[in-house]
């Protein structure tokens, strides 16, 4: 049994080694769990939308709740202009949520506890939002960095600060998800280790802790997916409705 609490995050190859132009493209356990979450999302929504009954079955109800939840979130934070981006935000939310939740199953692997995964998602959102902003407003989008009502002497300083603040978006978006998932899973593993080392006499206290932590982790898994999606909506809102 692995006693190292960081061992659960190791990525290892499954199947043959695939190398393309010097880049390792082998199928790993990370890709496996990404595929599992993508497939389970597909299956859930395929079954949920197959029969469109007026009185919904349980699985149809779940997919309707998902739809309403995201639609409400988008209209609340980004307004009606953001409706065309519904599919993107829906995919993003369900993918992050399923990766987090499948990671909560024992012996599975949490894809979102790797910063490269979350950073890729965040950088993609960042670039997409910037491109959308420039398409919608042209060079007027640069007004985002020049707040009105600032004395001319302070303007260069404020502009640099605003640019740093804008560039920090993908970093904070990715680090938040990655750090929460990794810290939570490490903590679960450490408490699990305490149960083993304290044995039958003293192991009950850490065991109850780890039961409570599992509940907390499920909350965090949902909340982080929600925060990830709602921040995407807020950034989209900044790009679509430019006002400072």
């Amino acid at each position: 049994m692995a006693t190292n609490p960081m061992q659960q995050f190791s990525v290892h190859r499954i199947g043959p080694e695939i190398k393309l132009a010097g880049i390792d493209l082998s199928f790993t356990n990370a890709s496996l769990f990404m595929a599992i979450s993508a497939i389970s999302i597909f299956v859930l929504f395929f079954l949920g939308t197959k029969e469109k009954k007026i009185i919904p079955s349980k699985i149809q109800l779940i997919s309707e709740i998902f739809y309403n939840f995201i639609a409400k979130m988008i209209s609340d934070t980004a307004g009606s202009k953001a409706k065309p981006y519904f599919p993107f935000i829906f995919c993003l939310f369900t993918f992050v949520l399923f990766c987090n939740m499948i990671g909560m199953i024992p012996y599975s692997f949490t894809v979102t506890s790797h910063i490269i995964v979350t950073l890729l998602l965040a950088v993609f959102i960042f670039i997409a939002v910037t491109v959308i902003g420039f398409i919608k407003h042209g060079f007027g989008y640069l007004k985002l960095f020049v707040p009105s009502g600032v004395p001319a002497l302070l303007l260069p300083l404020i502009t640099v600060i605003e640019i740093i603040s804008y560039l920090s978006r993908p970093v904070s978006l990715s680090v938040r998800l990655f750090a929460n998932m990794m810290a939570g899973h490490t903590m679960l593993k450490v408490f699990g280790g305490f149960v083993i080392s304290l044995g039958l006499l003293g192991g009950w206290l850490p065991l109850s802790f780890s039961v409570a932590l599992t509940g907390l982790e499920i909350l965090v898994a949902f909340l982080q997916a929600y925060v990830f999606a709602i921040l995407t909506c807020i950034y989209l809102n900044d790009a679509l409705n430019l006002h400072h």
Binding site: V160, L167, R176
Partner: protein, 94 residues
């Protein structure tokens, strides 16, 4: 089919209810918790970005410590700005 007869009127009532209803309490708590999680990383991320910016500029112009020092402070200012923006957004939501 008694069920479908008054379906349209019931749909109308449900729609008007949806318009009038505000977010219920538990939903509000959830989003506030989300914002609370946001605040901490927001501060740190801007400092990291500022420092990396300074580091890159330093290695470009070969002025070792100066740009890092300047951009560290600018990054901290940007972090505080981020937190203020988030806090404003939280207050407007009420």
């Amino acid at each position: 089919m008694d069920y479908f007869k008054d379906f349209k009127t019931r749909l109308k009532i449900a729609k008007s209810k949806l318009k009038n209803s505000s977010q219920d309490e538990s939903e509000k708590n959830g989003s506030f918790m989300g914002f609370a999680f946001k605040l901490g990383t927001e501060l740190v991320a801007a400092v990291i970005v500022g420092t990396i910016f300074g580091f890159i500029l330093d290695s470009w112009f070969d002025t070792k410590p100066w740009f890092i020092i300047i951009f560290f402070f600018l990054g901290s200012a940007a972090g505080i700005l981020n937190v203020i923006k988030t806090a404003n957004r939280m207050q407007n939501k009420d």
